[in-house]
């Protein structure tokens, strides 16, 4: 049982985090979306409070309750949404996040630090609660008042818990207790009719049902929300205060066998008086001679409600329903399990490749047929397994709304974040590790890229600066662009600084691109902040190192006065690639297939380090020389033309072995210093193949290529 409860807590933590994210998104969008966003924020806070209450996490409930009260006032229009309030609520959101973290680490109880951190927030929130109601817009407040009035009344809630509720770690009692916090439970009847004989009674199943009379100002969505955690296991019926006699009668008709008994219970709960019920039943019996359809009475449900209230309720109900459907279609899986699956698929592919090899050697047609079908399937399994780990980058991007909001406030600049390509998918492991470098790039763009408002005005730009995040797929990589419409990089100053730092020789002519890329050099930024000089350059070397560690690359383009775009290129997955195998001497190298453009015969031009590719000079690298492979070159060499990030180059190899699935195994620590290699792989015959690091290989070629082109 304790395992089940732990799982429920884990669900609570995961859901709370999701809700907090929604809350943050809504908070940041509140200026644009208005009431919808306010409702979303309220709903998130409320649901967290509700679930926390169910787990007895009083600290969370108390804190969230204060925030919720303020949000309630905002919803009613009593408190205006100002920048200060948004900032405060964002801080509250963070504090709730900290509390949830504490729940996860089991350090919530008696944690004075947390309480101390929460206190100023609570005080600030209280200020809003105590603030006098602004006198303006009396008209707007009037409907709100009627709404409250309409909702304040006697509800009747009928619950039939499912068998597995207890086993799932939930106690019906705690739901009722929590309901009691929303209002007053006027009466309750426990239904034990479903309890079986002592022999067949399973003490761990739940057989109970409850009829509850409830008075409070909560609306239906709120009451309904109490039971979010058991909705699937439970029959819930919530009868609103108005029109209740007719509804009760209709409901009684639905359960004819228990009619009398339920009627008594309604009376007992104080939901109806005995007299009212009698009258209604009699009236219905009289009128129902030609079987007055129950449906008609049911249609009456809500008809008396003010349209305003109905619309508001409908809106509130929509969201949880949509979410419920979504939840049914998706399963939360431990990331470790997925990693294990991917690992196994990797092993499967290696084993499959070796079976293929044996089959080919045995020349058995039937066996070949089998192995080829098998490898087709294995490939599909691999794709779907990798697909499981693919997540949309949108969630990561949306986190930057907050970063931009906070940093913009900090800097006193007006900056907006544009996000596009949110649906682009990439491997979860990549997503997890790209957050930090991206944050750095975004902060840099805001801090050093976007000019102060006066400068922008003088340059004829809009006062509001824009930072944009974009993502798209390009030849087996994902490309993430961080761009700003700021001042751009100042070529001359970077160059001067680089010369001063001894990174470049003075007087050497460099392309813009080379100069801009200098800001990624370690020596460039560490000694002194270049902020005042060149416009940016704080810790960019760390960004580059992080991205290289992901087998990615980073590039920068900039136009002075117009803006800067940093392009990060990352592999889609870190586990398996489609590899093109080539042989040099007895060694086998793997080139990522997505980069291979074509293969041509190598015809050496005398004393040249480039070949003629249909009239274009193509620089090349001899792998034999690069890796100092012993032996003389094969009689007929080939060139593999590869493209990486807009550059083209050739790799001279002895033989072309073809396309194979390649499971990437990281290189050991011993090889950490090995350049030009990004990993290794095990071939079907058990030999090791080395995976070429294109970024490193081609970086050396580029200068030569430009020299050749000139």
């Amino acid at each position: 049982m304790s395992i089940a409860i732990d799982q429920v807590t884990v669900t609570f933590i995961a859901e709370s985090r999701e809700l907090l994210e929604q809350m943050e998104t809504a908070l940041l969008a509140v200026a644009r979306d208005g009431q919808d966003a306010v409702n979303a924020i309220f709903r998130a806070a409320h649901t967290i409070k509700g679930s926390a209450g169910m787990f007895g996490l009083d600290t969370v409930v108390e804190f969230t309750h204060v925030a919720e009260s303020v949000l309630d006032k905002v919803r009613d229009g009593d408190v205006d949404v100002t920048d200060e309030l948004v900032a405060l609520l964002l801080a509250c959101r963070d504090h709730i996040g900290t509390l949830v973290d504490a729940v996860e680490s089991g350090t919530l109880d008696g944690n004075d630090d947390l309480a101390a951190a929460g206190a100023p927030l609570v005080a600030a929130l209280q200020a809003y609660l105590l603030a006098p109601v602004p006198a303006q817009e009396p008209a707007a407040r009037a409907p709100a008042a009627t709404e409250a009035e309409a909702d304040d009344g006697h509800w009747h809630i009928s619950l039939r818990f499912g068998r597995d509720v207890l086993r799932n770690g939930m106690d019906p009692l705690s739901f009722i207790r929590y309901l009691g916090q929303l209002g007053t439970i006027t009466g309750i009847a426990t239904l034990a009719d479903d309890l079986p004989d002592a022999d067949t009674f399973d003490p761990e199943s739940c057989y109970l049902g409850f009829e509850i009379g409830f008075a409070g100002s909560a609306d239906k969505a709120t009451i309904d929300g109490v039971f979010d955690f058991v909705r699937e296991d439970c029959q819930i019926r919530i009868l609103p205060p108005e029109n209740r006699i007719a509804e009760y009668v209709a409901w009684l008709d639905e359960l004819p066998e228990q009619r009398e008994r339920l009627g008594q219970m309604l009376v007992r709960c104080g939901s109806v008086t005995a007299h009212e019920l009698e009258l209604a039943l009699a009236a219905q019996a009289a009128a129902a001679a030609p079987a007055q359809p129950i449906g008609e009475i049911l249609v009456g449900q809500g008809a008396v409600r003010a349209p305003v209230v109905e619309a508001a309720l409908a809106k509130q109900r929509q969201a949880p329903e949509a979410r419920a459907q979504h939840e049914n279609r998706s399963v939360r899986v431990d990331a470790d399990k997925l990693d294990r699956l991917i690992n196994l698929v990797g092993e499967l592919m290696i084993a499959g490749a070796s079976a293929n090899l044996v089959a080919r050697r045995a020349q058995n047609a039937e066996l070949l047929e089998c192995t080829s079908t098998l490898s087709g399937l294995v490939e599909e399994v691999r794709d779907s397994a990798l697909q499981l780990r693919m997540v949309k980058i949108g969630a990561t991007f949306n986190r930057f709304q907050r970063v931009v909001h906070d940093v913009a406030r900090e800097l006193g600049k007006d900056i907006r974040l544009d996000v596009s390509g949110e649906d682009t998918e990439l491997d979860k492991t990549v997503v997890e590790r790209i957050g930090d470098p991206l944050t750095h790039l975004v902060r840099n763009a805001m801090d050093h890229g976007i000019e102060p408002a006066e400068v922008r005005a003088a340059r004829g730009k809009p006062a509001q600066g824009t930072v944009a995040l974009n993502a798209f797929h390009d030849s087996g990589s994902i490309v993430i662009e961080v761009s700003d419409d700021g001042g751009g990089l100042k070529r001359e100053r970077i160059l001067a600084k680089a010369v001063e730092r001894g990174l470049v020789e003075a007087g050497r002519s460099l392309t813009d691109k080379e100069i801009f890329n200098l800001i990624f050099e370690p020596g460039f930024s560490t000694a002194e902040q270049v902020t005042n000089l060149s416009g940016r350059g704080v810790g960019m070397d760390v960004v580059k190192r992080n991205i290289l560690a992901l087998r990615g690359s980073v590039d920068i383009a900039s136009t002075e006065g117009v803006g800067t775009t940093v392009t990060v290129r990352l592999p889609l997955t870190l586990a398996i690639i489609n590899g093109f195998q080539v042989g040099v001497g007895r060694s086998v190298f793997v080139i990522p297939m997505d980069m291979v453009e074509e293969c041509i015969e190598f015809r050496e031009l005398p004393c040249c380090d480039w070949v003629d590719l249909r009239g274009q000079p193509l620089p090349f690298v001899r792998l034999r020389e690069r890796f100092a492979v012993a032996g003389s070159a094969a009689r007929r060499q080939s060139i593999v033309v590869v493209r990486y990030g807009g550059r083209k180059a050739g790799l001279v190899v002895d033989s072309l072995l073809g396309e194979f699935q390649t499971v990437i195994k990281p290189l050991g620590k011993v090889f950490a210093g090995a350049r030009f290699l990004s990993g290794s792989s095990i071939l079907g015959n058990g030999e090791v193949a080395l995976i070429l690091d294109m970024a490193a290989l081609l970086a050396g070629v580029e200068t030569e290529s430009q020299a050749a082109a000139a």
Partner: protein, 99 residues
């Protein structure tokens, strides 16, 4: 977490100590039913129950019904705050199924 059996002759009093929750429901069921079955005037002492949940309530309801089936009456003697709290919440009384 004890189940103390202070039986004296025909009137047996079973004192349930510790939790009376889903965690111990499977363990308690045979014990409670055994008391109901074997003694003429089965009595439960709930004064030392530290925790009480829906599963505990169900157990009591089943035991009581079983007693009625056998023509006996299950007496409850003493109720800890946890038990009283749950009874109050569920609208149960120590006497009847629903008061």
């Amino acid at each position: 977490m004890n189940i103390g059996d202070t039986s004296q002759g025909a009137a047996a009093c079973l004192a349930v100590e510790g939790e009376m929750t889903i965690y111990r429901a499977a363990e308690l069921k045979p014990v409670l039913l055994d008391v109901v079955l074997t003694h003429a005037a089965p009595t439960l002492d709930l004064a030392s129950v530290t925790e009480f949940d829906s599963a505990g309530a169900q157990l009591l309801l089943v035991a009581r019904r079983e007693a009625i089936r056998l023509g006996k009456r299950l007496e409850l003697r003493g109720a800890s705050p946890a038990v009283r709290d749950a009874f109050a919440l569920l609208g149960l009384s120590p006497e009847g199924e629903s008061a």
